[in-house]
Structure formats: structure tokens, C-alpha cells
């Protein structure tokens, strides 16, 4: 190694050492959210209709409705900052006039796996139509405080803002899956999270915790 390189290396080492002894210099603040909502930039990568033998509760609405069918979506979020987990109000993800229950945060990957409750027809098939429904991030808040009036208002705002209706490639729609209960649905979703947002290892491991039975 040349003497110049040695000197450079020594200088670098000294600089690093000074930084360490001066306390931790790295600052991680909370990135600012967009100034205005709604915000789009969400596309559907996969859509899996599902049914539940046991009803589940949609905690992401103030009405807390029960549901036995829905769609498990894999979404791509263009602006990752929208899904940085925060303790204060976060942007609320809507599919049309319905809140989407995000199962992961997706900050590193930009991939969010979410559940949207749906209904079934007389034949038991899951009824969902993403076409015409914009998928967007609405006013920051707590999803559990969103009621029908709020959801309708947010959807109207998205339409008024010109956010495009969702286009879901037919290849993105998978065959329906039948689950016994919400827990099975979440375990299934863990596979999707692992595939699309691999950085969230702890979330995946947590969802796969062995089920205790009596």
C-alpha cells in the first residue's frame, strides 16, 4: 500500500473514530407526508378471492362488520413513504369506498398485502369488481374510525382528484381459496408477504407461530 493510501486510511479511521466517540450522528426522522390527499400510485399485482367458513371482523371500519368473503390483494405502492409505519395518523388505504386491511407495512419493498371484504352471490362465488374502483391513500387517520359516510366522501374525493380506476390484469386474478377461519387466511398471507416483502421476516415468522390447540 502506498504511503498516500496509508495516510488516507489513517485519516478515514480517525474520522470514523471521532464520529463514534462524539455520539451517534445518524438522524432518522419521520419523512413528511404529502401535503394533500388522496394520493394514488397503487397498482394491483395479484388478486385472490377467498371465503371463510367462520366469519371474521373487519376491524378497519368503525362499524366493525363481519365478513365471510373477500379479496386478498398484493399491491405495489409507488411512494414508499406512504406506508412507513407511524404511530400518529397514517394515510388510510381505500379500495373504492372500502378500507383495505393492510397485513404488512411494505416500506422497504413497496409491496402491500391487504384484505378487502366482499360479498358472495347466490352460488357462493366471491363478488368483487375492482374495475372502476380507485385504489388510493386517503386522509391520514385511524381506519377504525372510518364509517360509511367517511369512506364515501374519501372515494368521491379520489374520483374528483382524477385518480384512475383500478386496472387489474386478468393474469393477476387467481383462483378463489377457501379458508376455515381468519387465522388460516393470515397464515396464507404470510407466504405472500415473504414472497413480495421479504425484509419483513419477523412479521412472517410471527404469523407462522404454531397454533396451540386443546
Amino acid at each position: 500500500m502506498t504511503s498516500a493510501r496509508s495516510l488516507l486510511l489513517s485519516t478515514l479511521a480517525l474520522t470514523l473514530l471521532a464520529g463514534l466517540t462524539a455520539g451517534i450522528a445518524q438522524v432518522e426522522g419521520a419523512p413528511a407526508l404529502p401535503a394533500a390527499f388522496p394520493v394514488g400510485g397503487v397498482t394491483v399485482l395479484e388478486a385472490r378471492p377467498f371465503t371463510l367458513a367462520e366469519p371474521a371482523t373487519h376491524e378497519w371500519r368503525s362499524e366493525r362488520p363481519q365478513y365471510t368473503a373477500g379479496v386478498l390483494l398484493v399491491l405495489d405502492v409507488e411512494d414508499h413513504e406512504l406506508v412507513l409505519p407511524r404511530q400518529v395518523a397514517e394515510p388510510i388505504l381505500y379500495v373504492g369506498a372500502q378500507t383495505a386491511a393492510r397485513l404488512n407495512h411494505g416500506y422497504e419493498s413497496g409491496r402491500v398485502i391487504a384484505i378487502v371484504p366482499a360479498t358472495t352471490d347466490a352460488d357462493g362465488a366471491v363478488v368483487f369488481d375492482l374495475a372502476g374502483a380507485p385504489i388510493f391513500f386517503g386522509t391520514p387517520g385511524l381506519p377504525e374510525q372510518v364509517d360509511a359516510e367517511t369512506a364515501t366522501r374519501e372515494r368521491a374525493a379520489a374520483v374528483a382528484a382524477g385518480l384512475p380506476a383500478t386496472t387489474t390484469p386478468t393474469t393477476a386474478v387467481h383462483a378463489p381459496v377457501a379458508f376455515e377461519n381468519d387465522h388460516q387466511l393470515h397464515v396464507f398471507a404470510a407466504d405472500l408477504i415473504e414472497q413480495h416483502s421479504p425484509a419483513e421476516k419477523d412479521l412472517v415468522a410471527g404469523l407462522r407461530a404454531p397454533l396451540l390447540t386443546r
Binding site: 455520539g23 371474521a56 395518523a89 397514517e90 407495512h105 381506519p143 410471527g206 404469523l207 407461530a209
Partner: protein, 776 residues
């Protein structure tokens, strides 16, 4: 209710011949008019009078005086009066009677009044009456062991000492003149209960030999002697603190007897406790498990591997924050489990909101308690105390645990396997406040708070009520505690990855934050769930003077402030909590408040605008309440270069502090104020107690190291530097005031004052002030 002794006093009145009365006899008790012998010691009563004359002793519970036959006799002549014949006066004209004061704890604090009646000549039907005298029985338990301070009050007679601390023995000759010049053997012994000390008085020093000292000093400072150079061993098991008693054996007979002093003559609290480094793991290996009870019931469990041999263990339940994971609290789970706790961290449904999070706290607790026979193959069944549960929540989980308690309080959630009385402690790490006053409310539960000053998520800025973590603390009605950490970000509290949400100067980082957490959560759990007395000191003593051995002292960014307010069940008199009588001239207890400090304002502790800019808001920087909260305090300043003071006059109910242990209050520097910026340092000032006779004693709040911390110098939230106002509690031992002036009568106080200015501490300053009280 009368004491047993009073109950034994017969309501009998021997017919005294109340002829023309004359006060011509003298009565002394241990050479004094008013004696205060310790329980278990002896008392010498001395009466003068006509030789050969019969002597009677009158005992009463009322002092009088009573006017009788034109004379004033200093005794009450109440229905409880007892008259005792002491025989005839000796030829010397002085009758001395030795009597033993019972060890009975119920006698401590009782005062009895005496008067002698000596027949006026042998066979006379009239009597000479003596002066009155009083006997107040004091506690045999006397603080003698502590650590030396560099200045007055000279010795910190604390409860807990880190292993390796130099200990001293000290006796104030002005409070105990009977010890002047005496040589004693000072023993450090294994702890015993009161009954054990009475029945087994033999002294064995754990160090091998006692320390011999002669108490010849003229004051406390010169009557302070080295006792142990840090050789006392700390506890090695799961209990925090190895207990010791200290006996000053004046007659050097190797027995606790006679007039020997003892520090630790109590069934609950011993003389002193020596603790090891509580940031280090405890004695037990830890087993960790991951399992799920179904939807939203995934749990991460930590427990001692040898739980089968450990009896019933305390339970801690951790509820994580938004975007966090229930597997990110190993540093808490491992640490507590190594000391014999069971820790269960659960999936917390935070993304929908705080209500959903509170539901998962409630349901996961219910599931865990109801399935101990299944979890880990039943290894925990019969080994978990489900009646003293500690809920610890972070962020949205931090508000969630308070909301969960409120739902139990309102009966809007009824668990199957526990109830509200089983929740012993709630602690919130950097909680949000979405739901507000009526919903996120710990009511009368013991409540604890952690705040990170560099938190860029739950920022604490005045601009967002939701992001102010101190609100829930302000709502706690009874016992409330807090730890505030400069330089600590939101994500530093867990051990997961991702954004640490830390903004500000001199960041502490995750590693050192976790060291602080281990050293605080352990005593928090040990004291509140187990009643481990030695642990309590870590929750309130100023960090500068006392902290865990392993505290990250090498990190200059570490600044820790503690708040500690007892609930009413502990026994206290609140001088002023500013929750009533909102005018600055009257305290909440109804006494007058006066002074020469400037810019005095009393209001809700709530910055009314959206920033910390010093723009004239009297409550600038206060973030303890929102508009719907009622937490209040006072702010004032001093800057004229001379002495400025604030005085609280005590109403009758608060004047007798003789049975209390502490004077307590909390204070905070006002952020970004010109007087705060003038000298960015800990503020000090003096506390003054004055009794009804005008005797006063003064102690500086800096006596134990530290003072009132300067605000964390973080920018943002307006212009200037300095984050939210950070209260810290100061507790002064009331007996310390008597070392400064033995004439101070703690049973008859008139005022509590605070003196500010260059000759009393910091030259200038502006502070918030609250919770002035006398505490048992």
C-alpha cells in the same frame, strides 16, 4: 381509637385532697421536662419534694393546663387520668423511678402527660404539685447508615446502595445529645424482624468484626464515620437488594439492648439494602416460546427455565406499537425472566387504531391467563400470579394499555379469566393520545410513563395533541411515575429494525437505551409486583446521585429525569397540586401562597399554541394535557439578582409532618425561555421549612447531586432550541431538615418555602412547579 396503653389506663380517679394547691415539686424525665425516649429503652423519672411524704404520679393523655383552686396545673384531668402511688419521698428529697418503655410498635408516636403530687409533709392531706412533663415515645428504628455527601445535609440516609458504595455511620449529636462522647461498637448484621431482635438480641457482624467509633463530634458532619468500604455483598438471587440491619452497641456488650440504636428495627424495611448491577441478567436461564392461540393471539413468551421449582411468578404483558413486532422485546423479556418474571409479548392489532390495539391487549391477556394449562405443555400452570398483572405498552400499544384499562373500568369489556383488580401496574412507552381524556385514562391504577426526547414519531411537539406522550400521565389519578430520556428515539425502545425515529442532538442509540431500560423496568416490576423495597429507590432518586451500576456513564448523551408521585393510599398531605383554588394566592389545600418570585401564573399544563417558540405563552413547552384535560401547575421565574421566594402557608391539617417521611415536589425548567437559555445547566434552589416558633431549616435541591435538568436542546417545533418542559421529582427526607436546625418542630410547621437567587443556587431561572406534598 386509643392505643393499647391508653386502653390499659383505667378511668379511675383516686380521691386527691385538693386543698390549697402549690406548685412546689419538680419533675423531670431523663433530666428534661419533655422526653422522647425510644421504644424498648428506659426512662428515669425524677421528682423532688418533702422527705417522707407520699408521692403520687398523675398520668393523662391530655396536656392541660387545668385551673384548679386558683392554680394552673399542667395536666388535662381528662376521664383517662390515672393516678399511681410511687411510695414515700426518700430522705434526700428526690425520688428516682426507672421505667421501661415497651417495645410495642403501637406506642410509637403516643404522648403521655405527667404531673407529680407530693404530700405537703408526712400525713398531710394537701399536696405540692410539680410542673407538667410529657413523654413521647419515638420509634426505635433510627437512621444511622448512609453515604456521605459533600455538604449539608452531610449524609444521605438512603435505603438502597449499589454494591461497592462506601457507607458511613452517623449520629447527629444535636438530635441525640445522650450519645455525646460515647464509644460504641457498630455492627452490620443479617436482617431480623422486630420480634426476632427482641428475642434474639445477640450481635454478629457479617463483616467479621464490628467497627468501633467514638461519637465525639459536635455536629452530624463531624460525627460521621466510615462503616464499610464497599465490601457488603449484594443479593445474588432474583430479589433486588441484600438486606442488612445496623446496630450501634453503646454498652459494647454484643447485644441489642439498653439504649443501643438500631437501623432496621422494622418488620418490613431493614436498615439498608445492597444491590448488584441490575442491568445484568439475573440468576435464571430463560426459555423462550412462540405460539398462537388463533387470530390476533400470537404470543412470544419468556420464563425461567426452572419454573417448576420457583413457585408463583409475576406476569408482565407487552403490547407493541404500530409497525412494530411482538418479537421485538427480547431485551425486556429475557431480562425480566432471568429475575423470575413471566413475560408475554403479544401480536397487537395497532394498524386499525388504538381501540383495536386495546382489544388485543385485553384478549391476549384473557387467552394467556385462561390457557396456562396448554401453553408450553402446561409448564406455567400454577406458576403465574394472575392477580398482579403488569401491562407494558409501546406507542399505539402504550395508549392501548390505558384504553384497555378504561374499558375494564367502564365494564365495556368483560374478560373471562381476570378483572380490573388484577391489573397492578400500567406502563406506557412513548404513547400516542388519539382517544383523549375520557377513553385513554388509567383512572386510579398505578401508572408509569417512558418518554424519549428525540422521538420523531410521537414527537411531543405542541403542534399535535396526538403526538404528546405525557397526556395519559397527567390523567393518572393516584400513583404516577415517569422516566424521560434525552436523546432517545421512538424505535430505540424496541429491538427491531427499521426507522429508529430519532431526531436531535447527542442521540443515545439503541444499545445504551436498552441498558437503561433493563435497569429501570426490573425495579419497576420488582417493586410494584413483589413489594421489593430496595427497588423503589431506582424509580425516584435523582439519576446524578444514584443509578444502576451498569448505567451507560460513558455516554455523555445520557440524561435521565424521573417523576414519582405517591397515590393517596400511601398516606400523604397535599400542600398544593394546583388542581383547585386556581388563584395564585391560595393553595389547593386552602393555605395562602405568597412570594416575591416573578411572572407567577397558574394554569393547565398545556402549551396553547403549536410550537415551543418563546413567544410569551406562560405555559410554553408544557405538554401534559390537552384542552379536555385538567392537569395544572404553576410557573414563575427569578432574575433580580437578589433573594426571591415562594411560600406556602400550611393549614392546620398539614402542620404536623412529624409522622411523614418526605417533602416531595416536581419542577421543570421552561424551555427556550431567556432565563433558561442564560445558563444551560441544572437549576438549584433551596427548600425551607419553618415551624410555628419561627425556627427554620434550609436544604438545597442540589444536595444529592443534580438539580432541575435543563431541557433537551432539540430544535424544531418553532424557533430556538429546547424540547418540551421535562418535570422531575425532588424528595427531601423531612428528618434531614432537623440536622440543619434541631429546634425545628416537624409537628408544628407553619410554612414550606422555596428560595431562589445567586445566594440560594442558580442566579436566574424560570420553572414550572407542581405536586408539593408531605408523604409517608
Amino acid at each position: 381509637m386509643t392505643s393499647p396503653l391508653r386502653a390499659l389506663l383505667l378511668t379511675s380517679l383516686v380521691a386527691l385532697a385538693f386543698g390549697p394547691a402549690a406548685v412546689a415539686s419538680d419533675l423531670t424525665l431523663d433530666g428534661q421536662i419533655d422526653a422522647a425516649p425510644m421504644s424498648g429503652t428506659s426512662l428515669t423519672l425524677s421528682i423532688t419534694g418533702t422527705p417522707g411524704a407520699p408521692v403520687l404520679l398523675l398520668l393523662d393523655v391530655e396536656p392541660g393546663p387545668t385551673n384548679i383552686f386558683g392554680q394552673t396545673l399542667e395536666i388535662g384531668f381528662s376521664p383517662s387520668l390515672l393516678v399511681v402511688s410511687l411510695g414515700d419521698m426518700p430522705g434526700s428529697g428526690t425520688l428516682n423511678v426507672d421505667t421501661d418503655i415497651p417495645f410495642d410498635e403501637s406506642f410509637v408516636g403516643a404522648t403521655f402527660y405527667t404531673l407529680a403530687a407530693v404530700a405537703d409533709g408526712a400525713g398531710s392531706a394537701t399536696h405540692d404539685y410539680s410542673n407538667g412533663g410529657s413523654v413521647t415515645i419515638t420509634d426505635r428504628d433510627v437512621n444511622v447508615a448512609g453515604r456521605a455527601l459533600g455538604s449539608y445535609p452531610h449524609v444521605e440516609f438512603a435505603r438502597t446502595f449499589n454494591a461497592g458504595t462506601d457507607l458511613v455511620v452517623a449520629i447527629d449529636p444535636e438530635l441525640h445529645p445522650e450519645t455525646a462522647g460515647l464509644t460504641a461498637d457498630v455492627y452490620v448484621t443479617a436482617p431480623q424482624s422486630r420480634g426476632q431482635w427482641i428475642n434474639n438480641p445477640g450481635l454478629t457482624d457479617v463483616r467479621g468484626t464490628p467497627t468501633t467509633v467514638t461519637f465525639s463530634g459536635a455536629d452530624l458532619a463531624s460525627n460521621t464515620f466510615a462503616l464499610d468500604a464497599g465490601t457488603l455483598l449484594p443479593a445474588s438471587g432474583p430479589v433486588i437488594g441484600e438486606a442488612y440491619d445496623v446496630v450501634v452497641d453503646f454498652d459494647q456488650d454484643g447485644l441489642f439492648d439498653g439504649d443501643d440504636f438500631i437501623d432496621g428495627f422494622d418488620d418490613t424495611e431493614h436498615g439498608l439494602y445492597v444491590v448488584r448491577d441490575i442491568t445484568q441478567p439475573g440468576p435464571f436461564a430463560v426459555t423462550e416460546a412462540l405460539y398462537s392461540g388463533g387470530t390476533n393471539l400470537a404470543q412470544n413468551l419468556f420464563y425461567p427455565s426452572n419454573i417448576a421449582n420457583l413457585g408463583v411468578l409475576n406476569l408482565v404483558i407487552v403490547s407493541h406499537g404500530n409497525g412494530h413486532n411482538y418479537q421485538w422485546y427480547d431485551h425486556i423479556g429475557e431480562h425480566l425472566a432471568s429475575y423470575g418474571f413471566v413475560v408475554m409479548s403479544h401480536f397487537n392489532n395497532t394498524i386499525p387504531g388504538v381501540e383495536a390495539a386495546s382489544t388485543t391487549t385485553l384478549t391476549n391477556t384473557d387467552y394467556f391467563v385462561g390457557n396456562l394449562d396448554v401453553i408450553e405443555g402446561g409448564a406455567l400452570d400454577g406458576h403465574v400470579d394472575v392477580n398482579h398483572i403488569f401491562w407494558l405498552g409501546h406507542s399505539r400499544g402504550g395508549e392501548g394499555v390505558a384504553r384497555a384499562y378504561d374499558r375494564l373500568f367502564d365494564n365495556s369489556f368483560v374478560p373471562s379469566n381476570y378483572d380490573i383488580d388484577d391489573i397492578a401496574l400500567i406502563s406506557s412507552i412513548a404513547p400516542v393520545d388519539f382517544l383523549g381524556t375520557n377513553s385513554s385514562n388509567p383512572h386510579g391504577a398505578d401508572y408509569h410513563l417512558w418518554v424519549g426526547g428525540a422521538d420523531s414519531d410521537v414527537t411531543g411537539c405542541a403542534s399535535n395533541d396526538i403526538a404528546q406522550p405525557i397526556h395519559i400521565f397527567g390523567r393518572a389519578e393516584q400513583k404516577r411515575m415517569a422516566i424521560s430520556l434525552h436523546g432517545v428515539g421512538h424505535g430505540n425502545f424496541h429491538n427491531g429494525g427499521g426507522n429508529q425515529f430519532a431526531t436531535g442532538p447527542c442521540l443515545v442509540g439503541m444499545t445504551d437505551t436498552h441498558t437503561i431500560i433493563r435497569g429501570h423496568v426490573l425495579p419497576l416490576a420488582a417493586f410494584h409486583l413483589r413489594g421489593n423495597l430496595a427497588a423503589e429507590d431506582f424509580l425516584w432518586r435523582q439519576w446524578e446521585g444514584f443509578r444502576p451500576i451498569g448505567a451507560p456513564d460513558g455516554n455523555p448523551c445520557v440524561n435521565v429525569d424521573l417523576m414519582y408521585r405517591e397515590g393517596t393510599v400511601a398516606g400523604k398531605f397535599v400542600v398544593d397540586d394546583f388542581q383547585s383554588n386556581p388563584g395564585v394566592g391560595m393553595s389547593s389545600s386552602g393555605g395562602s401562597v405568597s412570594g416575591t418570585v416573578s411572572a407567577v401564573s397558574e394554569a393547565r399544563l398545556d402549551d396553547p399554541d403549536s410550537n415551543f417558540t418563546d413567544d410569551g405563552d406562560v405555559m410554553n413547552g408544557m405538554t401534559e394535557g390537552r384542552s379536555t384535560d385538567s392537569t395544572a401547575g404553576v410557573v414563575f421565574e427569578w432574575s433580580n439578582g437578589g433573594t426571591q421566594q415562594l411560600t406556602f402557608s400550611l393549614v392546620a391539617a398539614g402542620q404536623d409532618a412529624s409522622t411523614r417521611t418526605w417533602l416531595s415536589f416536581r419542577a421543570a425548567q421552561s424551555t427556550r425561555d431567556a432565563l433558561t437559555i442564560t445558563a444551560l445547566e441544572d437549576l438549584t434552589f433551596e427548600v425551607v421549612l419553618t415551624d410555628g416558633d419561627g425556627d427554620e431549616s434550609v436544604i438545597s435541591v442540589g444536595a444529592w447531586g443534580g438539580g432541575i435538568e435543563e431541557p433537551y436542546q432539540r430544535t424544531g417545533c418553532g424557533s430556538g432550541a429546547g424540547w418540551n418542559n421535562e418535570f422531575e421529582t425532588v424528595r427531601v427526607r423531612l428528618s434531614d431538615f432537623r440536622h440543619g436546625n434541631p429546634e425545628l418542630d416537624l409537628s408544628s410547621l407553619a410554612t414550606v418555602s422555596f428560595r431562589f437567587g445567586p445566594t440560594h443556587g442558580s442566579g436566574v431561572g424560570r420553572i414550572g412547579f407542581d405536586d408539593l406534598e408531605f408523604v409517608d
